[in-house]
């Protein structure tokens, strides 16, 4: 089974589409980080302008933890779409190419191949999430430094101490991995039912938007 997973991972990482996903995430994050680096203080000032009269905010509001929070809010839709694009192509893409039949003439059964493809797609999802975490959290921490996490909500303020933030982010990324694996599973399931991978990805995007609106 491991050799089949290796083969599927090899095929995933030989496709230009895969790197487009990694590149798209990097481009979005870098653009936002660059913008905040240039004009971040004005943004931070805008965030706390309503409470400046009643509270004295000390320290670095615009730190790596807040940048990561902003990035994750902004990429809430993009990441599931990029995951869905690969997951939705795992079976339908090969069925369209005709290579699925070539795989089925090997000694391995359909079940073996489907399981290997699902595991490979899940591994891709986790790798994409690690890439996201690296850029959004660790690179932001490196560029903007760290301090307490100060979040403005509509009618209250959340303040989390610096020493208490990192483990929460780790927890958030673990939770995100389950969420994205659900998207992968959904894309994979629909990939076995339809031959149109772009259509599936759009459907998953629509589902993400609906859930976002409901939430």
């Amino acid at each position: 089974m491991w050799s089949l997973i290796q083969i599927e991972l090899y095929k995933i990482f030989r496709r230009p589409r895969t790197y487009i996903a990694f590149g798209a995430i990097a481009a979005l994050i870098v653009v936002i980080q660059f913008g905040l680096k240039i004009d971040g203080d004005a943004y931070a000032g805008f965030l706390i302008k309503d409470i400046n009269d009643t509270l004295t905010v000390d320290g670095k509001v615009l730190n790596g933890y807040l940048i990561c929070y902003i990035l994750l809010q902004l990429l809430l839709v993009h990441v599931p779409l990029l995951v869905a694009l690969i997951a939705a192509d795992m079976i339908s893409g090969e069925a369209n190419l005709g290579t699925l039949r070539l795989l089925f003439t090997t000694p391995y059964s359909r079940t073996h191949w489907v399981i290997a493809k699902f595991i490979a797609a899940s591994m891709y999802t986790i790798l994409l999430l690690i890439w996201l975490a690296f850029l959004a959290l660790f690179v932001s921490m490196w560029i903007f430094g760290t301090d307490d996490l100060f979040l403005m909500k509509s009618n209250y303020v959340v303040l989390i101490e610096q020493s208490d933030v990192l483990w929460r982010y780790v927890g958030a990324f673990v939770f995100a991995s389950f969420s994205l694996l659900t998207v992968t599973s959904l894309g994979f399931l629909m990939s076995s039912l339809s031959s149109n991978s772009i259509g599936i990805a759009c459907l998953i995007l629509f589902r993400s938007l609906c859930l976002l609106l409901l939430w």
Binding site: S3, L4, Q6, I7, Y10, K11, R14, R15, P16, L97, G98, T99, R101, L102, L103, F104, T105, T106, P107, Y108, S109
Partner: protein
Amino acid sequence: MFGVFCYNLSMAVIKVENISKNFGTLKAVDNLSFEVEAGQVFGFLGQNGSGKSTTIRMLLSLIHPSSGSIELFGKSIQKNRASILEQVGAIIERPDLYPYLTATEHLQLFAKVRKQKVAAINITKTLEQVGLSHRSQDKVQTFSLGMKQRLGIAIALVHNPSLIILDEPTNGLDPQGIADIRSLIQYLAKEEGKTVFVSSHLLSEIEQVAHQILIIHQGKKMVEGVTKELLDPEKRIVQIKTLDDVKALSIIVAGSFSQYLLSRKEGIFLKLPTSAIPMLNESLVQSGIAVLGIETKNSLEDYFLQITSNA
């Protein structure tokens, strides 16, 4: 996971018994039986839609027969699929490949699927066999249909299988490519002792390489036999071309040559001993028929047309 098994060389590599395949009300294959012995090149002929590819899919366990049984290497394909397919290399209908991988990467990938560590030199050798060594590092998206076909054959060969199943292997190939694949099939059977099951619409190609042929029509077996015997050199199929075919035909029907007359929609065709050809010509000339030509057509193509038109 996969057990190694041996089989007696004298037994049939492929044994198909009374298989049928129904798709709804359509009977794609109807009670088909045949055997292929080790080391043979077996030609599988039929018109488009005759059930060739369906049969090949059943041989590879891609679909299951509605009834009947298939044994490869003396074992049921349905019960021993994994161990049997280790020994089989196949291409089906058209070469389906990954456009973003190179020729070498394809062979490495499919060698890995078979859990075989194929040395780089063997990959080079396989690509040389199919005439693709000069494009080994090029991505498949830059390949012509003929080159994809060659790579498909290379994939079928890379793990050194005992049985090679080729469905229309000369599709998209130029005349030189067709000749190369013909030589390769002959080499594989003669020099490497492999069994080759090949279907093609290019009947002249099958005629030149196959030891045994089977012709199917509308899913049913029409004829099966040794190619040399079916194309009996002692009896020739000839086409008579005259200025007045109607009169010529009436003379043939009325005379002793009527027994050799073949049923064809267009033209006058006879299957007769070589020695009788001059007598036929003489008989027609003496009857006042202007004979434009007597064309010998003792090819598999003529035999195939004869069989299928009679059906």
